[in-house]
Symmetry: C3
Subunit: 325 residues, 3 copies
């Protein structure tokens, strides 16, 4: 754990400008509400002014427009949230697990671990797994045979990388015939994978996760998917098999992307929305059915199954109107 830094030392490393005492010592970050002596908080917008006035933090990160709102020592930055992230990285390690392989981990044949890799307790790595420099697998991660992780990848507990994709053909009797999944999973540098997330191996070719992709917890990535670099998905999102997603996309929690689709770069899908056809145009896409008080929901939803009829009745009225005119 790195030690304390003065505001002056922080801006000398990260840029920005100090207002107030540059010798103020900071040893940790905190929220406006709970930060205390030696901690630095940040102001993300005008609505948190009250918190700023009441904060016990020793210093604050904020943008120029709010600079005059507090007499506290402060760092002025164009992007306070990003600045805060970087300060936190100065004061805290990105991962808390020491390099090395825990004795309870199980490694298959021909596993290649680059320098500084940390393999937590109870991890299981199949044969021919390769893991790049400085990557950290927290306890109880499984990586099936033949999969590859890049450098500085963080994988949280319970994630399963490279299990068989869901590949089945049906015989005449309606029984399922398993298609061996002979592809693998290849994960780029600087990827983070959340707890209990699953990424399936490809049926024939590999499933690909681009560099800088961030996957939250309990995400499911089907076989043969390709996720472009710097795309982020919040918890419980899922991508069905063989879908190709572009770069710099974001997916809200529980967003569901059906299979065999193509989604271009810079697409943003709202939480809980279902994408059932390809998206060729950057933008934000949403499909949340609104919740309501139960009785009101019941009253309105009864008409969802009559929408076509309602439209037909409307058309009839319009026609009669026109004929009468």
């Amino acid at each position: 754990m790195p030690g304390a830094l003065t505001l002056e030392e922080i801006v000398s490393r990260l840029g920005g400008r100090v207002a107030g005492d540059p010798a103020t010592r900071i040893r940790q970050v905190g929220s406006l509400e709970s930060a205390g002596q030696g901690e630095i908080a940040f102001l993300s917008g005008a609505k948190h002014r009250a918190g700023l006035a009441a904060t016990g933090a020793s210093a604050v990160i904020l943008s120029k427009e709010f600079e005059a709102l507090t007499p506290l020592p402060r760092i002025v930055s164009d992007a306070p949230y990003l600045y805060f992230a970087r300060v936190s990285q100065l004061l805290n390690p990105l991962t808390v697990q020491a390099p090395g392989v825990h004795p309870s981990a199980v490694l298959g044949k021909n596993v290649k671990l680059a320098e500084g890799v940390s393999i937590g307790a109870g991890c299981v790595l199949g044969d021919d797994v390769t893991i790049g420099e400085g990557s950290c697998l927290y306890p109880r991660v499984v990586v099936y045979h033949g999969c590859t992780l890049g450098a500085r990848v963080i994988v949280h507990s319970g994630a399963v990388i490279g299990a068989d994709g869901f590949g089945l053909a049906q015989d005449d009797a309606g029984r399922w015939v398993k298609i061996p999944q002979i592809g693998a999973v290849r994960i780029g540098d600087d990827v983070e994978i959340g707890a209990n997330t699953t990424i399936d191996r490809g049926a024939l070719d590999d499933t690909l996760i681009g560099e800088g992709v961030k996957l939250d917890n309990q995400i499911q990535i089907g076989h043969n998917c390709r996720i472009g670099a710097h795309t982020a998905m919040a918890g419980c999102a899922a991508v069905a098999g063989s879908t190709h997603i572009g770069r710099h996309c974001t997916f809200g929690g529980a967003a569901m992307i059906l299979g065999h689709l193509t989604i271009v770069d810079h697409v943003h899908v709202s939480a809980c929305s279902v994408i059932s056809s390809s998206i060729r145009k950057p933008g934000t896409y949403t499909g949340i059915y609104p919740s309501d008080e139960h009785a009101s929901w019941a009253r309105n939803t009864a008409f969802v199954r009559q929408l076509a009829k309602l439209a037909e009745r409307l058309r009839t009225l319009e026609k009669e109107k026109k004929n009468n005119a």
Copy 2:
């Protein structure tokens, strides 16, 4: 496993009244359909009368209004289902795993386990984890460093408590900058956590799970959430980060609660409903889009994207009507 009890012994412990032979011996609970000799079943309502008539159970728990429906020995109670739960607890242990730490479990430094704690095979507890009296972690649970569990907490296999929350800032180039997650998770007494459920540690402050909260399987609780006491969530529900939920709430399966919301006490969210704004009033909230035969669904759903136009056309007709009147 506790031994058999007579109906008289049961009511002496749990209240209620025996009708029929109080010396009837009960060694286990069962369903009306499958209970046999020495087993006690319960009648939850009038629609299970046929099952009552046909049951092979030695005794039945039911309410006063149904008392005359069977000649079997019975316990009469105002709340037969609750009574049944208590009888089952008399006859069966709440957890089946003996106290103690399984030799294959891995404990970090400064882990504090209170009396009677049971840590199953393959569990991994990080440094500075504290677990209260009588708690039971089934095999392969991970608790990250610094997290605290109360007394009599039950955690099922595969659950991950205290993995990093999904905290990211974006730089000018659209790359994600990880924000170290320096909070922890604090879990109250008498909480139960289902298999493969994940509860993320706080970004700055702790994620809080109140006493008596019951979480089913595969639930995702984002960082900084606070779940009030005695709230229950069914399987696959998810709560995005920084949402505060009140006491005595219930969430149906796969209910999705977006982030940074406040939900008051005694709110009930139906299964598969998405809550996208704060709820200030107790009550039941629902947002299920109705399924239908595929062709009918396709016919009606085509008009969802035309609702605003349909409403506009309706308004036009109404205006013309008014002008003509």
Copy 3:
């Protein structure tokens, strides 16, 4: 891993007819796009003609109608995809883990493993678990006490079989009283269970998974469910407690089936659809709310909560029309 086969050897085992050189040697399957020397690909339909023309595969499996489209050695079959699955099974093992119990696995008392069973690293099997011939549990599977798996069952990493169902009664103070879950899980032959899938033990009677059922990753099966033979569910589907599902059904990804329902044989539920009442008639059922560009979604969705009012206004216009006629 089985060795290479000629096309002639393949059809002698699997049927179909060779066109072109029957001595063509095949050592692996591949996709049209990436297959190379010694690999066989398949053509699933007319839209992949271009891929067929460009393929580097040594041979192709296709139906009679496309036979003339390529000069490559080929196998003609009525069901090319099924045929491809069978060829892949000739050339690849169904599971990659050798029989035997990994030394890091933990087995309870009275566990019965039939011949050829493979138990991966870090698996935990409770007391009285029985597993049938040739079944394969990949690393870190947990099977709770008393559960039974049939023959040739494949279970992927992180799956949890037999954790407690979510059975709770509520007392007068709104506290939850746990109902001990005394049933188990019984799984038939030839079932496959995906990574991090959870199947809960029954409250009183057993949860039943029929033979040939295929469950993808992160599926949740509640207590007391019965899933009929040869039913398949894609990733993230969930079935709430006590629902009985028929044979030969299919469920798309994230399909949600509420509790205490009955679904007959040969029902197909589309991805992301919610089934909230029993289905008595075979067929395809869908309930996806359409996603759209965000602004368009917002415009239209605002009227969902006014559907009943819109219908009322329409009715009013119709009445006036009629009265005026």
